[in-house]
Amino acid sequence: MTVSILLFLPIVAAVITALLKNGIAKHAALFFSVAQLVIALIFLSKFVPDASTQFVIDVPWISSYGIYFSAGIDGISMVLVLLTTVLVPLIILTTYQHQYKNEGAFYGLILFMQAGMLVVFTALDGFLFYVGWEAALIPIYFICALWGGENRIRITIKFFIYTFAGSLFMLVGIIYLYLQSPDKTFDIHNFYKMTLDVKHQSWIFWAFFLAFAIKMPLFPFHTWQPDTYTEAPSGGTMMLSGIMLKMGIYGVIRWMIPNAPLGFFNFQVLAIVLGVIGVVYASIIAFKQKDGKRLVAYSSIGHVGLIAAGIFAWNIAGVQGAMIQMLNHGINVVGMFFIWDIISRRLNTREIDQLGGIAKVAPRFAIGFLIILLGTVGLPLTNGFIGEFLLLKGVFDFGAHHYGGIALGAVAGLTIIFGAVYMLRMYKNVMQGETNPLTATFADVSGTEKFTLCLICVLVIALGIYPQPILHISEAAVTQLVNQIGSKFTM
């Protein structure tokens, strides 16, 4: 059993779904995505949590360039495969209340995007990685531009050009690595073995860094993100924020740091500082937002900044924290966007100032909102806690060896306070207080909405109370990767 089934099923599913009529397409998409989840769980049950790469497929693809269709799952990939396969059905469920025109195309594109992302998360060949990277971009461009809001055309092309620009530089970097590799292949293990000098590694570092920093997005490459998140249809926003930005983070762990460790260590402090600036900057801006969806978008920049800082600290706590936080951030951010989707669908507004008192008329909705919110701000016993804890520990551990490093950790730690402030303030303004004429008729959640919300809340609490299984999956692989780089280049 190889990983290929996981990569090709969504493509087949996408084609089938795209040809179906309105009304059937969403059910088909849900069916296929659940089937994907089941397959992923089967993989998980057979997965041995050591550092090895399993379920490998390796067949020649473009022979004259030493390109192989080579993919496999190790602990790091497994977490992200889980993330993708869990979130896609969840996201499809959250769109159930929408009546999209040309539904087949919408869900077809989502499934195709899933295929692209799974390729990214499992690829062991640089060329394949790049192809998956772009294959995930095209569908989301069309999703945003076809079903998005008013200014979608201008904003989506900005988004597309931004990310495409970054990835082209990455392509140049990958080609360069390929040409330096001893046996002229794109195999990642060959890339790992190479020892280029610092100058070249620095260039490769920047080539990769641009692509990943734009994708995450890391301050100051984030300017496309709030606009795109706001204009995209809610399903598209969830795909972008829940899964797609993890492509950037995953890329850092798997491709950027191990392939250019010396280049990375040259700019390590800069990278961490950028992550920490992102945390503070995004939190301040989030505090001032009036549009709820935009607020969540900025909070996402803050969270990602912390994840990035944890990874760039490059120790086991930081990277493990990033692993689990990727999963949990995905769940939480999908939950938050779902909350705002419910509100804006009912009231046709996302202006926080116009809302208030919803908790009175919709208690079930209020509970769901609160649980997801607590997860987002990282309260202990919710899923957000363990990840943020480990990430901060990672930054502090790094700081312990560097001049002024503790301050860096302390500033990064502000994220928890900041996040709590603007999130709770949002909750207060939206849910508490007196109802106004607009919110008085707010109908509580029911049917698929209730079911979806419950599912998200269960995940938030379950992963908060007992995160160990997830940590265990990636532990061996992360430890090996971190030590391998550390031992090769002791600072």
């Binding site: 076809l146 055309i153 092309i157 597309f160 050009i161 620009a165 530089f169």
Partner: protein, 460 residues
């Protein structure tokens, strides 16, 4: 060698068919004839590439020739399939048009299989003279006449450079034969300055023919003025052949002297990329945009010659194939929009996604391929080009190319945005069956090559 014979005899047959008013038979006979020529060409392919020169060393029909003959013949077939009903609108002399296109193709086959500079010259001239006529077949149309005249004057001018360059090469090496010239280059420690001058003049002449900047000024006007189908032929088949000849000449004869001509071509490439892309950005007409984008594609194709190596032939082949089939879709779509919508502005594509989903889809595939997005053939072409350039350490050039690839997104996506995201109430376009076949085949080929390039990437 039967390919050249078939393609040379076929037009004469067609002229007779025209004489006897058998208009209906023209297209089938042409296509069957070209398929036969294609079959003959493919039969010449040998695993070890052991072809020997023929006709007293004038031609060498090796794998390189097989591959490029095939791609030009296939593109011509696809373009001619789009011609059903097209030439009849211009005048009754349809047989002549088919015949002239085929004469041009005969010249192209000579251009991709020459082994002697004289044959290169003859091939280019057969091709060009036919094209001068084709550009002006709309006799009462002002733009078409302008295109023909401009093309003729500029073409004649560049031919002069070409011929002068060849004469200088002959003067210093004593032969027109490619093997003899290569021997001269390899065995002479001191190369005559006249020889270098010859190379420089040849570069000028060839850059004129392939439309590389700063010798590109004829391109936009000629491409815009000529009938769209002829433009499609010029910007795909002719350009492919031009680059094949360029590459063949340089890799066979001048490779040891690359220190001399690489800087020249490097500058030309960079100028070509920027001029093509930035000017294309400002166009309101789809046809003119394609004209300028074809200049920028010439820039990418020049990569293969700048970073000349064993893989160059393959890169040019894959890139030219990808570019040709995508352009054929684009020009086919343009013909339909132009005929039935009356204009070739970007606005006339508005709302096409709703009215003609199939046409919009294939045009999207074509645009994505031209922009070089993965899973389309265009990306594979760009990837090969970039790899070649990086392998020669032209990192700066690749970075400039990356910037240009990003610029090109703007104008290629304008078409996609117009088709899908801008609404417009217009009548649905009728897409003739022939068009549908060509579109489906080309889009399928674009995706297949994009997913599995080994289908075509291992023949040179």
């Amino acid at each position: 060698m039967n390919t050249i014979i078939i393609i040379s005899v076929l037009p004469i047959v067609l002229l007779y068919l025209g004489l006897y008013k058998a208009q209906k038979a023209l297209l089938p006979v042409t296509v069957i004839g070209l398929l036969a020529a294609l079959a003959c060409a493919i039969c010449q392919w040998t695993a070890k590439d052991m072809a020997a020169p023929i006709y007293t060393g004038m031609l060498l029909f090796n794998n390189f020739s097989v591959v490029f003959s095939s791609v030009t013949i296939v593109s011509t077939i696809l373009i001619l399939l789009l011609s059903k009903g097209y030439f009849e609108r211009i005048s009754r002399h349809t047989a002549e048009y088919y015949a002239i296109i085929l004469f041009s193709l005969a010249g192209i086959i000579v251009m991709v299989s020459f082994n002697n500079l004289v044959m290169l010259f003859i091939g280019i001239e057969i091709m060009s003279v036919s094209l001068y006529i084709l550009a002006g077949i709309k006799k009462s149309d002002f733009a078409s006449n302008e295109a023909a005249l401009k093309y003729f004057l500029m073409g004649a001018f560049s031919t002069g450079f070409l011929l002068f360059g060849m004469a200088l090469l002959y003067g210093s090496s004593g032969s027109f034969n490619m093997d003899a010239i290569r021997e001269y280059v390899v065995n002479h420690p001191h190369i005559d300055p006249m020889f270098y001058t010859g190379i420089a003049l040849l570069i000028v002449g060839l850059c004129f023919k392939v439309g590389a900047a700063p010798f590109h000024f004829w391109t936009p006007d000629v491409y815009e003025g000529a009938p769209t189908l002829i433009t499609a032929f010029m910007s795909t088949v002719v350009k492919t052949a031009g680059f094949a000849a360029f590459l063949r000449l340089f890799s066979a004869c001048f490779q040891p002297l690359s220190d001399f001509w690489t800087p020249i071509l490097l500058v030309i490439t960079i100028i070509t990329l920027f001029i093509g892309n930035i000017t294309a950005l400002y166009q309101q007409s789809f046809k003119r945009m394609l004209a300028f984008s074809s200049i920028s594609h010439a820039g990418y194709l020049l990569f293969a010659i700048v970073s000349l190596g064993a893989a160059s032939g393959n890169s040019v082949f894959v890139y030219a194939t990808a570019y040709s089939i995508a352009s054929i879709i684009a020009f086919g779509g343009l013909i339909l929009v132009q005929q039935q919508g009356g204009s070739d502005n970007f606005e006339s594509f508005n709302g096409l996604g709703k009215r003609n989903p199939f046409l919009a889809f294939v045009l999207t595939v074509a645009m994505l391929s031209l922009a070089g997005i993965p899973l389309t053939a265009g990306f594979i072409g760009k990837f090969f080009m970039f790899s070649g350039a990086v392998s020669r350490y032209h990192i700066g050039l690749v970075i400039i190319a990356v910037i240009n690839a990003i610029i090109s997104i703007f104008y290629y996506f304008r078409v996609i945005i117009a088709m899908y995201f801008r609404a417009d109430e217009r009548a649905e376009l009728t897409v003739p069956v022939y068009y549908k076949v060509v579109f489906a085949l080309s889009a399928l080929a674009t995706i297949l090559i994009g997913v599995y390039p080994d289908l075509i990437a291992r023949f040179i």
